[in-house]
Symmetry: D2
């Protein structure tokens, strides 16, 4: 059905870009966990618009209201539901689009799927706004993972042709465009500004890394770490590819180059390299979990594009008005962390108590 | 739990490399569908060893026995179960490995996950042999899709640094290494032979394409086509990345370059390009569905590698004996088609009858 | 995980007796369905307190706010979420109970399950208040079923030893205690008043009937109509038994007595009797679906009972203060209809579009 | 989809009465568990035909072949699949029935559901034969439960109007008709013999009891113990009702009578009575879990009945030939234990490891 996911913890995301609210329900979070609501707000602020260059000027406070699942700030075992009201809705901006699907958007496919009954305002349920509830869920999972010694960090690995220099370590890179190299960040910013000035947009790649995972997480075949992280991460709009460890580069390697040798380090079996991205046979090996996602350029652009009036069949020129990001990659960074955190926490919760 | 997947049709895969049998159960296939069992055997023969250069000499007839779900050769609505006996089992070959995990394999992670009770013979449940039942399921789904006008074809896009020339069309490329260009195939074959002669292996990329899909398949957010195909495809051992349409290349594009313009063609709304790979907002748009997967080089190689005796902690040199493929990419091609066919058929079955 | 159910339509219920709100999410409702919100309010009012004799005086408006899933009053295919604010919360009434579990309630078991972190106010997530969101979902399903020609009605079959006379037909019985016989209703009312005056409570049996169901609904083995209705209906607090058709009475019959003969009526195959309650092999046969549920007496009673202080282990006398129903059976009637309507609609949605 | 169930452990049942085999797959059983295969055979023999008076003379060895999931007799974490070959198939007996559905059977409803493609031989996938794989699964779970200190026993509480005298305790009653009272057993046997001699059949009630369950099992609302046991138990053909604890009798009680007072016993909080059957709010309270199921009389009877030729619409007289039980209640006893054991083990496996 699509709007929910998870095996041991169940996440359901609801709402449309301009419905009364967007929100989420998390089932399966254990009772007795203290959650820092301020920390969740800070996490949400990382995906908020207006934070980095070229991002939409829409201002939403993005303050979640927790409706259930807590006694005070401690989980009580009941499903956690939180909502964010859509206070800054401006459906009028989108009125002109109604019969002309925006290229690269879900407008056309939603129209076919729902037979014309879809919510066309601002992308409806397909809007990037739905990553806000994803980030509420992720923010909760990140706190729970932290208690378990697991950290999740990420960076913008590239924007267009500008790549970040250096290796992503355990610590979270900072900056409006989180990169390891401040210079790379500068180059990325310039690229985004250029795209913004041209009414265009740019895509990029995000790299995510989780440390502190125990070996043995995940399940065989379809329950592997790759399957499960992909199943959540592709829930972020605009993601068109994912790779783990060396990923597509490993397809160019030989077995001798790609295999990660086992070695003993401080009495513990580890691998000398990490081409497998911390995953063998779909199961974690205790090394850092590393994956990268390809984010396509925002489809909403002011520059003129070709589309079709789906009512009349007439080909028309379209320039997408309203508020848009020239590059959503920086805002997608916390979303990627949220998706990873949820998927990882879900797997951790799959470990059964011995009976 | 991992060994089953699917929302509207449920696939469960069981067996170990050297258990009595491997097999699969498919629930949710409608009654009254005539299945060509010979066609399934032919499909299975494409993943059989010994078919292309450098593949393992293990000879298994791979003839499925259908235990249930049919009256004659017509489905009766009950779960379909088929098994393949493991007749050519040679557990002895693997005995030496028992305490030394093979680099790049699930040996180590399975050991941790199952606390030493894992089936170590030939990779147990993590063996590539488990793709045989996947192909039974895929073979059934391919026949059902064909009746619905949907075809799935694929090719080896690259082996190591050798890429296939030309575009993948609607027709299935032929050859032991299925490529569009016969010359590219020659280059790939040479590369595999070289790796085989060196006791090494090589990886590659497979491209898959489905035609005839109606627009409107898939679900929002976590139920998108990308999520669901990924969730199945990563069930094929050695897959380390997936991308849809332009995929990682789209991350280097601008919105103007990447957006697929809508145009009217024969009274139907189509896109002028297909950078989105036939998927917008997770929903099919009626254009060909295109994805590519990165297959890492087979980890089992004769060349000497480093590993650790997990019982003693001692570092040891390891050369994997037994029968192995120098390149599993060609054998993974029908597996990719099977995974795609299952995922697509599952989505088609998600379309509800109107009430 | 418990708070969600359904295979083709997914219902998630959230909230606690005294959290900010209770609510529900319904995924999988088709787009384009017009819903009458006033009709839902009327349906909810049937489970509202204060409507029949001996029911709690707690006054909640029970007006759902629909947060998502609609464009105007027409479904748009996105998950439907609705909440009801807990405006009349009086946690103070329950303070005294905190360490003394109420006999017959979930207080003790929730305490063990959640290790003391459970929400103790008014039963938390186990409160009968959670049937309000169930009724929102059921109210939506009832409207959709009606369009499909399916009606669901029910009656109070017995309160204590007073049974309703006559047969339940296709039309909904009326009255504060919905019965076929007005005289029986009078007897039931007297019994409830007596219990109320004694600080005691009484249980009863509810009978539910659905007409207009097509034959062929349901799935084999664990997916039978009985399995699925039970799985939802036991979600109503206080339900301790369920039977279909002749139910427990059929256990006293012979095959000749119990078997429903097939006969031809107006060219249609029907059964001469309906001891199977419209279900054979778990699948509907096109006859009315009939089931009955046993509702235990409300455990919250003013009369003195024995309990234990779970902190000290000391045995104590307990009289449950606050607002309580002397008989929840009449209020459980719409809940039973809601549960049945959801389960039936879920099965109807399981019918696949032919491909 | 019906033929699979379970949340933390997944059971899939496959096969038809006269397909090559019937069987089952269990996913989610932990690795490292030693299973006594002989014990499973003994358990299966309790549901075998020909064991008690009036049961069918069909002789099947019912010896399961374990195809996967084990290294020797120890589970390895992979899915467990076992099959039983249908060696004694006699489809000819059933040929005459083909167009005339047997009253009380799934023949008619399966025909409608599967559009005529259903397997008509011996009830196909709806046959009581499918309880053999259920008993394999249950036999495994019973062994695992025993290690955890949990026992499941049951008895025939009544056949027709003959009831068993006495209370069901922790120990399993013995006899071809397992009852507490040998005298009651005698009366039941006479009743069955009478029905058999008349070409008729009789129904009955089975009582099940589980001891040693920890308090705190189960989940709120739809995940309660009642919901989950019902969802499995109605998978046994002929079950038409279920009640927990006092069940339907509690509907006649007052709160003071029905509420189970909490008392302290050896420093532990227990209840003085057990009207709730060990379940409060859907969660176990640590007292014995008690439920009863109504089993309708076997519909297959030699005595003449009315039916309809579904091809011609003509009303015909029908006498069911072949091999049949005059009373399946005794054979259903191990099935009830198997269903309960699976559901309970599934809940136990839902307890998460602390992270």
């Amino acid at each position: 059905m699509g709007s929910s996911t998870g095996e041991n913890v169940r996440l359901t995301v609801f709402g449309q870009s301009h419905s009364a609210a967007v929100g989420m329900t998390l089932e399966g979070i254990p009772a007795g966990e203290k959650i820092d609501f301020e920390e969740i707000k800070r996490f949400l602020s990382r995906r908020a618009p207006g934070r980095s260059v070229g991002s939409t000027a829409r201002k939403e406070p993005d303050v979640p209201e927790f409706l259930s699942g807590f006694v005070g700030d401690v989980t009580c075992g009941a499903p956690i539901t939180a909502i964010i009201r859509n206070t800054d809705a401006r459906p009028a901006d989108y009125a002109a689009l109604s019969d002309v699907p925006r290229p690269g958007h879900a407008d056309f496919t939603a129209h076919i799927k729902y037979g014309g009954a879809e919510d066309r305002s601002g992308g409806g349920h397909f809007s990037g706004r739905l990553t806000a509830p994803l980030c509420i869920a992720g923010g909760i999972c990140l706190q729970l993972l932290k208690k378990a010694g697991v950290t999740v960090v990420s960076r913008v690995l590239s924007i267009g042709n500008v790549s970040d220099e250096g290796e992503l370590g355990q610590n979270a890179p900072e900056g409006d465009i989180p990169t390891v190299s401040a210079e790379s960040r500068l180059g990325m910013r310039r690229l985004i500004e250029k795209a913004a000035s041209e009414g265009n947009s740019v895509g990029g790649v995000i790299e995510c890394r989780a440390d502190g995972l125990p070996a043995g997480l995940g399940d065989p075949i379809f329950g592997g770490v790759e399957n499960r992280i992909s199943a959540v991460v592709f829930g972020i709009p605009a993601v068109k590819g994912i790779e783990f460890g060396a990923g597509f580069a490993s397809a160019k390697m030989t077995g001798l180059e790609n295999n990660d040798a086992f070695v003993t380090e401080n009495g513990r079996t580890v691998t000398a390299t990490n081409n497998c991205g911390g995953i063998l046979g779909g199961i974690t090996d205790g090394m850092p979990l590393v994956f990268r996602i390809a984010v396509k350029p925002t489809p909403s652009i002011a520059a003129e594009q070709k589309s079709v009036n789906i009512r009349t069949g007439e080909e028309v020129a379209l320039s997408v008005g309203g508020r848009h990001d020239a590059c959503i990659v920086p805002r997608a960074v916390p979303c990627a962390e949220a998706a990873a955190a949820f998927a990882i926490y879900d797997m951790l919760q799959g470990r059964k108590k011995e009976i």
